[in-house]
């Protein structure tokens, strides 16, 4: 079995009186796509936000690549290999697509940012070197056609791909996708599932939240199901699809 990238142990998060996550534990291995599903308000986004460091968890451990990170603020977690996208599109509207992706790669640059002011110490060489990677990511996410468009002028579907591209630019070990397919139409969803598979093939672990079951069932290796902040099931897509508790709480009769 591949090495464990992320291990979540006994995670709790409450907002005032609301217990959004209770005693959640699971783990994700390298090159694995893990699904996180559950009814609205079951704590999926809260989980992602706690992992990424936007919220600090009330208690529990988050272990990334063997290192506890729950006490870290948000930005160093990215440098340690954990990036994310948001449930509602979050972009830099005035940048071009390429500029935004380039900024996503900032954590991979080793030179002192101040050196870049005076173009010193090989900072511009290094900046040139990452350009190749940025092009690669733009192609991977199919954004190269619109790379020089202003972000505010691209469609909301394209913005969702842009968020993924930006997250990939940081060279992550694990990427958290919060409802990447929301608002995408069918052929875009296909592109998305291809993209997720490509990401996996590069050895990057993916944790994906989605309400779109077909997508989840197609791309996930394993799925964790939340309800009222607690894990109610974990298993392969086939196991989950037939799990009674999951059907009751989440899928309904339709699925």
């Amino acid at each position: 079995m591949a090495e464990t990238i992320l291990e979540v142990r006994n995670l709790h998060k409450s907002f005032g009186g609301v217990q959004a996550i209770r005693d959640l534990s699971f783990s994700v291995s390298a090159g694995e796509v893990m699904g996180l599903i559950g009814p609205n308000g079951s704590g999926k986004s809260t989980t992602v936000n706690s992992l990424a460091g936007l919220f600090s968890a009330t208690s529990g451990q988050i272990v990334l690549g063997g290192e506890e990170i729950q006490h870290l603020p948000e930005y160093p977690r990215v440098a340690k290999g954990l990036t994310r996208t948001f449930q509602t599109a979050s972009v830099f509207p005035e940048f071009t697509v390429r500029e935004q992706v380039r900024l996503g790669s900032n954590t991979t640059l080793k030179s002192n940012p101040l050196a870049s002011v005076f173009r010193l110490g090989g900072s511009s060489d290094e900046e040139k070197r990452v350009e190749a990677r940025i092009e690669d990511i733009l192609h991977l996410t199919d954004l190269h056609r619109i790379a020089d468009k202003k972000v505010s002028t691209i469609s909301s579907g394209e913005q969702r791909f842009l968020m993924i591209a930006t997250a990939l630019a940081a060279d992550p070990k694990l990427i958290l996708l919060d409802e990447p397919a929301a608002g995408l139409i069918s052929h875009e969803r296909k592109t998305l599932s291809e993209l997720i598979k490509l990401i996996r093939s590069r050895g990057i672990a993916v944790l994906v939240i989605e309400h779109h079951m077909a997508l989840i069932m197609e791309v996930c290796d394993r799925i964790v199901v939340l309800n009222f902040g607690s894990k109610i099931a974990e298993g392969t897509p086939t196991e989950i699809r037939s799990n009674k508790a999951v059907i009751d709480a989440y899928l309904g009769e339709a699925a």
């Binding site: 609301v18 409802e179 139409i185």
Partner: protein, 233 residues
């Protein structure tokens, strides 16, 4: 009931809707489907008076409402449950529902609040919570409830199932169906085209700011182009 003629909408000089015609008859449920950025929301916003059309005429129940302010249109009986929910984040769930009845003068509002809470029980358990802290799905239910609170003649839904759990999507579908059965006229925009087309009496397909197809729900469901682009999984 609603008649839109040669509608054009631009943002800052860039035209995004290039002259469309559509109509909704009393008691009918009409769906607008199409890709991202095709111009569905912009069309709805023009109807509701949130953006001013650059050209065209919109009439509702025989009166011209083109270019009227949003509140006048709402008071004429059109309400919209907007894309992205747009709840009042710091008001409580209850206050949000009451705001829905802002344009009403009768005193059956308390009763309608109860009705909404029966329809979406989660809203009752969260009645005092600030709406901004609800989960996405909870907010969608609140937005639908709030829209219905105005007892509209024409009810517009912009992507009501966005981000909802499958079970809830089915419920939303059922809710819209119920609204439809209440005899309300409905204009529905949905990414979940399958659901939309099942619910709709008629539908329009948008592409890049133009209407490219029109037909009954069944017709479009079986149209090859639609199946390929919108109804795949």
């Amino acid at each position: 009931m609603l008649d839109v003629k040669d509608l054009k909408v631009s943002y800052g000089g860039i035209e995004v809707i290039h002259g469309i015609d559509l109509h909704v008859k009393e008691g009918e449920c009409v769906a607008l489907i199409g890709a991202n950025g095709a111009g569905k929301t912009s069309t709805l916003k023009a109807i509701c008076g949130l953006v001013r059309p650059s050209n065209g005429a919109i009439s509702f129940n025989g009166t011209d409402i083109t270019g009227k302010s949003g509140h006048e249109i709402v008071r004429a009986g059109i309400t919209m449950c907007p894309e992205g929910r747009q709840v009042f984040p710091q008001m409580s769930v209850l206050q949000n529902l009451r705001m829905g009845a802002y344009s009403r003068k009768d005193n059956e509002q308390a009763q309608d609040v109860e009705e909404m809470m029966d329809m979406f029980p989660i809203l009752r358990t969260r009645a005092g919570q600030a709406a901004g802290t609800l989960s996405g799905g909870e907010q969608e239910m609140l937005a639908i409830g709030r829209a219905l609170m105005s007892r509209p003649k024409l009810c517009i839904f912009d992507e009501p199932s966005l981000g909802l759990a499958p079970k809830i999507v089915a419920e939303v579908g059922a809710t819209i169906d119920r609204v439809k059965k209440m005899g309300k006229t409905i204009l529905l925009v949905e990414q979940n085209s399958l659901m939309a087309l099942r619910l709709a009496d008629r539908a329009y397909l948008f592409e890049a700011g133009e209407i490219v197809l029109e037909g009954t729900g069944e017709e479009l469901q079986s149209h090859p182009e639609v199946t390929k682009a919108y109804l795949g999984h």
